[in-house]
Subunit: 319 residues, 2 copies
């Protein structure tokens, strides 16, 4: 599956120059509704529609292997497929058979090979191991537990840090912890770590990261949590991320499902933004814990926009 | 209703410095679907969610009157309300009683006085005349037939012209013609008129502008057309706009309703953009007349994003 004639002198541009800058959006009606000064950093227009491209491109461009295997419920898969395609590499993406149809279609459209696995019978990790055994020349990429993932996501931390002064808190979704670890790392590297704090937003239904922070060690969910925020259906934080987050993450807000849905609706109605449920977690955290943010200026990271139309319609209908 | 103590030394900033720059969005999956090189200029994140703020702010800041009356099916009303509020002026917005609920609510939230009129019994123009008689100190603003409207919208033409070379055609919705007249004017003022052509996209159900271009004189619809593109439910082009468009508009693509709906869905699914039906007209024109644009690079202006959730859900459901 590797490209027939890869360019021999391919110069890999640094990830920083390939990613799209985040889209900064002011939304005064949303601010009024939340009663806070809020600015939105939207990754919904990033390549492949989510921040995951930052990490995926960094991984795919830095490892020497020309075939990459990963497990992803969707956004990392799309991002890796697109990154590999740009780099004339190939990739296989193991996805649960219950994945959103639009995410499966998108991985294929970006040139990735989709490998659907019935997760009630075989874990994604087992299937990845099988594929890796078939392709010893491949790199097995983690969507959220790899220093290259943190470094890729740190490009967003640098962009956010460049606006330090406009806000004092950055709120971002926590699933495996790659995004928040990248933010903490990028902000620290920019010398803004003391004036700009990162707060995580995690679904209450899968609050392993919040429990980990309280326990001082990684705590795992017993099973994949059934939150509507499918990008946060991770069982635990990645170990590399934990190294960063245990020291650098100020706190995590645990967000009820209803707040996630309401945040999706508010972003639609008051900011003209189409955001997937995981992407609405930061705004949902402001709804869930208004007292925590009272009087502060907040940057909300909207991590992605790829949502199945049927799911989106159902959320809008609840208004 | 004029502000109790307007600042006496208010310096009016030029409209150019107050509007938000348009949001440029690349969408490779949409390009692949359309088979064309396409870049999107999205006004959905403009102040009040549509390009109308450009015109409204220019009008409100340039006229000396401190109270403004207008008739608007929504976006111009929101834009004028917000512009007046920023300028410490007041405004009344006459709206048909069938207006989308979110648009009525938004005008009120931005500080405008909404005057709902049953258009089956009294025209909006009659109601505006009544209000103007009550307030002889007021300025009566047209949403689309005023040189100040063209000049305001010309700021978008300047932004588009600054990217001339990246595309050769700009496609934008036509209702009263204020947007396309502004684009033609701004592009010409930037010295790019010979290499960058403006093409209109108009609902086939209300194709008065296309018929006007063919006839060489303004042709009127017999009644407000029942298109889903509510921003294009105008009866005829504005006279000031006609002066510009009769010479400067290359052509108009007449767009069937189904193409408008499909364009809304494609922008949702392939570009993560929430766009109102009128805002999808330019992309719909590419669907409706692919042969017209074959081999060209096109800039599509997405004019606004304010759409009732129920209407939006219904459109998504048809996929």
């Amino acid at each position: 599956m590797s490209s027939a004639s890869p360019p021999m002198t391919l110069v890999i541009p640094p990830t920083r120059s390939v990613v799209r800058p985040t889209t900064w959006i002011e939304a005064p009606r949303l601010e009024r509704r939340l009663g806070l000064r809020v600015v939105l950093a939207s990754e919904t227009f990033q390549h492949t529609g989510s921040f995951k491209f930052r990490a995926a491109y960094n991984v795919a461009s830095q490892v020497p292997e020309r075939h990459i295997i990963t497990a992803s419920s969707g956004n990392f898969g799309q991002a890796l497929a697109h990154a590999c395609s740009r780099l004339h590499k190939s990739c296989a993406v193991v996805m649960p058979h219950t994945s959103a149809a639009v995410k499966v279609a998108a991985v294929r459209e970006y040139g990735g090979i989709v490998d659907l696995v019935d997760v009630t019978r075989k874990s994604r990790a087992e299937r990845v191991a099988e594929l890796a055994a078939e392709r010893p020349d491949a790199y097995v990429a983690s969507a959220y537990d790899d220093p290259l993932v943190i470094a890729g996501n740190a490009t967003l931390g640098e962009e956010v840090a460049a606006r330090a002064g406009a806000f004092e808190v950055v709120v971002a979704p926590v699933g495996g912890g790659g995004l928040t670890a990248g933010l903490v790392t990028g902000i620290a590297a920019s010398g803004q770590g003391s004036r700009l704090h990162v707060v995580g937003a995690e679904p209450l239904l899968g609050n392993d990261a919040a429990r980990s922070l309280r326990a001082g060690a990684i705590v795992r969910n017993e099973r994949e949590p059934a939150t509507i925020a499918d990008g946060a259906r991770t069982v635990s934080l990645g170990h590399h991320n934990w190294q960063v987050l245990s020291r650098g993450l100020r706190e995590i807000v645990e967000v009820p499902e209803e707040a996630i849905r309401e945040a999706v609706r508010l972003l639609f109605g008051l900011a003209n933004l189409k955001v997937e449920p995981t992407g609405a977690l930061a705004v949902a955290a402001l709804l869930a814990a208004p007292e925590r943010f009272a009087g502060q200026s907040v940057c909300c990271v909207l991590s992605g926009g790829n949502v199945d139309p049927a799911v989106y319609r159902e959320i809008l209908a609840e208004a």
